[in-house]
């Protein structure tokens, strides 16, 4: 099998679906009060468990939004629409989703444990990387525009 861009986009889509299934699992597990079946009640206090749930469900919203935008982005890439304003817009939204998760987990770190701030930092870094990619694509868009109108 020859590996090309089409297969690469397909693999990315598989990863998105896989991540969506994981996220769904996390959302359902939070609802099912997993801590009891995992005997975590000795380790996690009820107040901390409440903050964990708040963190999971509050972060779920931007996470699902980011996954949806990623799916749209993969669709655009498969159609060859790379350096377009719509693609830049999708990346901007994904970056902001990461920043929102960073903010939520930062707030929840106070209620759960300070170590949760690692999630906040990781999400913020991811948002920053996506923003950089967005900026690069914007430059690419300007260059493509210039090239398209070069006769």
């Amino acid at each position: 099998m020859k590996w090309d861009m089409k297969h690469s986009v397909m693999l990315s889509r598989v990863f998105i679906v896989f991540f969506a299934i994981l996220l769904l699992g996390v959302d359902v597990a939070g609802f099912l009060r997993v801590s009891r079946s995992w005997d975590l009640e000795d380790v996690i206090q009820p107040s901390q468990l409440m903050w964990i749930r708040i963190c999971i469900y509050a972060c779920s919203v931007p996470a699902w939004a980011a996954l949806w935008e990623l799916w749209q982005l993969m669709g655009r890439l498969s159609r060859g629409q790379v350096f377009t304003s719509e693609t830049v817009k999708l990346l901007r939204i994904i970056a902001w989703c990461c920043f929102i998760v960073a903010a939520i987990s930062f707030v929840c770190a106070g209620g759960v444990h300070f170590s949760v701030i690692v999630i906040s930092v990781a999400a913020a870094l991811m948002g920053l990387i996506v923003r950089m990619v967005k900026n690069v694509l914007e430059q690419g868009m300007a260059m493509k525009n210039e090239l398209d109108y070069t006769v």
Binding site: N145, E146, Y149, T150, V151
Partner: protein
């Protein structure tokens, strides 16, 4: 943009249509239209050369500079 392409004038003088000129120059009708309507951001020397050859004129007959206000 400060550079204007006066293709209309030369095309009228030589009595040549857009499609005909595009064929002689070797670019698509769409690109010729972009050039004619002033939407072009750049022009290759090779294209300019072909235009001058097809219209039997100088680059200065086709390109005009106006100070931007």
């Amino acid at each position: 943009m400060g550079i204007f392409v006066d293709l209309d004038v030369m095309m009228a003088r030589r009595k040549i249509s857009l499609g005909e000129l595009a064929g002689k120059v070797g670019i698509t009708n769409a690109n010729m239209s972009i050039l004619k309507t002033g939407k072009a951001k750049a022009i290759r020397f090779s294209t300019l050369e072909q235009l001058c050859q097809a219209l039997d004129c100088q680059p200065g007959d086709l390109l005009r500079y106006e100070k931007e206000r």
